[in-house]
């Protein structure tokens, strides 16, 4: 199980990576913005999930999601953000986000969101 984790905050990447590792994710590839994320993502082969922040320098999360979907890739994507305004949520869904986690969150909320979109190898 391989996850691309995109956030400009190193601390937030650590928190989310810890949540992923507590589940069945063994490999977490980290990127600090959308540009770096797209380079690491390539054609998406081998990745099972993208978790991305919205508000980032260079290329934000919404632009990243749009770019991934424009390539035809249907990988599950979770957006983690402080944005909750209806218009913003609709923008994210229209861009192709599968689920949404609002900051602040606790470990249980994070786990719930990850479990909802991560393919569980035990059920395969």
């Amino acid at each position: 199980m391989k996850v691309l984790l995109v956030d400009d905050s190193g601390v937030m990447r650590k928190i989310i990576a810890r949540g992923l590792n507590r589940l069945w994710v063994k490999e977490v590839i980290e990127a600090g913005d959308g540009v770096e994320a797209l380079e690491l993502f390539g054609d998406g082969a081998g990745f099972d999930l993208v978790v991305t922040d919205w508000n980032m320098p260079n290329m934000n999360g919404l632009e990243l999601v749009t770019a991934i979907r424009a390539s035809g890739n249907k990988i599950p994507i979770i957006m983690i953000t402080t944005e909750t305004e209806k218009t913003q949520v609709i923008k994210a869904i229209q861009a192709g986000v599968n689920d949404y986690l609002v900051k602040p969150f606790d470990q249980d909320m994070l786990t719930l969101k990850l479990e909802r979109v991560l393919p569980n190898p035990q059920s395969a």
């Binding site: 402080t82 944005e83 900051k103």
Partner: protein
């Protein structure tokens, strides 16, 4: 138009609610408000040498200006160690990043509660200084609200003007 405590308790309340929720949810700490006052004589302040971090986030929209969140050293370390289950004893990149994330979440949380203003926020910038090192333009009337938790202090300084179109 400058903000006043009496007229704009909803704005102060939004930041108050946001920071309390974040500390409770992310590291299980309850904040106790200890002080609220306008920073009127910052030019007379002699910067203290006590280490502190300040994260500044700009806002535009129906309110314009900046919000600064200052953490004393103890607060910055407790916040970081609570987030990461770590044992930092001095400022490092994790502590800086954690302060930045706190600013992002507090201002984001307040923005969510102040949706009628249609606010847009900038990325956070972190400075290795406390609120005693801040200075403001003469048009500003910054308000500081301080909180204590577990022997540490965190403060929010709002310097915002309402935009009248």
């Amino acid at each position: 138009m400058q903000l006043t405590i009496d007229a704009d308790t909803s704005i102060i309340g939004a930041f108050d609610d946001a920071i309390r929720e974040i500390f409770d949810m992310m590291i299980g700490e309850s904040l106790h408000q200890s002080r609220m006052d306008y920073l009127v004589d910052w030019l007379q302040n002699v910067p203290k040498t006590e280490p502190a971090l300040t994260v500044v986030v700009g806002l535009t929209g129906g309110l314009e200006g900046a919000v600064a969140i200052t953490l004393c050293k103890e607060a910055a370390l407790k916040w970081t160690n609570g987030l990461l289950d770590s044992a930092a004893t001095s400022f490092d990149q994790d502590v800086i990043d954690a302060a930045g994330e706190l600013g992002n979440m507090v201002v984001g949380g307040a923005k969510r509660r102040l949706s009628e203003y249609g606010l847009t926020m900038t990325l956070p910038n972190v400075f290795c200084a406390g609120s005693d090192s801040m200075a403001f333009p003469s048009s500003a009337k910054p308000l500081q609200v301080s909180y204590d938790f577990s022997g540490a202090t965190v403060s929010i300084v709002t310097s915002l003007n309402k935009v009248t179109s």
